[in-house]
Symmetry: C2
Subunit: 105 residues, 2 copies
């Protein structure tokens, strides 16, 4: 039985954002993402075929949506992003780990 | 876009465990469960047709499995429970809220 702790086993370096699949089946994917000051590339948006439910568990981040809206996320905040809702990670806290839980469903 | 905070809007009374669906599609369900001293009925097990990934976000709980094993869960701990892996919630902290995030997938 796969188990662990969402706040443990953090990456040792933060050159790249770290994606780790925790569980999944078919096209459903549960993953932990650890960021530190990372953001989406300046150009382009995430534009996904499936909805993504995402919760911020530690740190802080700001999402930007293609319609111009932004959303600050602090620990415990979650948002359900519909399929093809174009979005990007505009900012994550530079001085601490930002831990996300994402469910692509 | 449905959003909220996993630690906010807790139930005002704890006579019953509270289940709240946060997102879902088809047979996939993402839900928050809030317990306070609740446990599964003394008789019987959860025996589910689909796997359940569950994380404990606050509080403390102990799961028991049909094979005799137990698993203590503290904040951040997660476990991926296979379909038909019979289990029960044997104990949750009596003096504080236990907040779970469950993904049935």
């Amino acid at each position: 039985m796969n188990k662990g702790n969402l706040f443990a086993a953090l990456p040792e370096t933060f050159d790249e954002e770290t994606f780790e699949q925790l569980a999944g089946r078919g096209e459903v994917r549960i993953e932990r993402i650890v960021s530190r000051g990372h953001r989406s590339p300046h150009e382009g948006w995430y534009d996904q075929d499936r909805p993504e439910w995402v919760a911020l568990l530690a740190g802080e981040a700001r999402l930007r949506f293609d319609d111009g809206g932004t959303l600050m996320l602090r620990p415990g905040d979650y948002v359900d992003i519909p399929a093809h809702c174009r979005h990007r990670v505009e900012w994550t806290a530079p001085d601490t780990e930002t831990i996300w839980l994402a469910v692509h469903y």
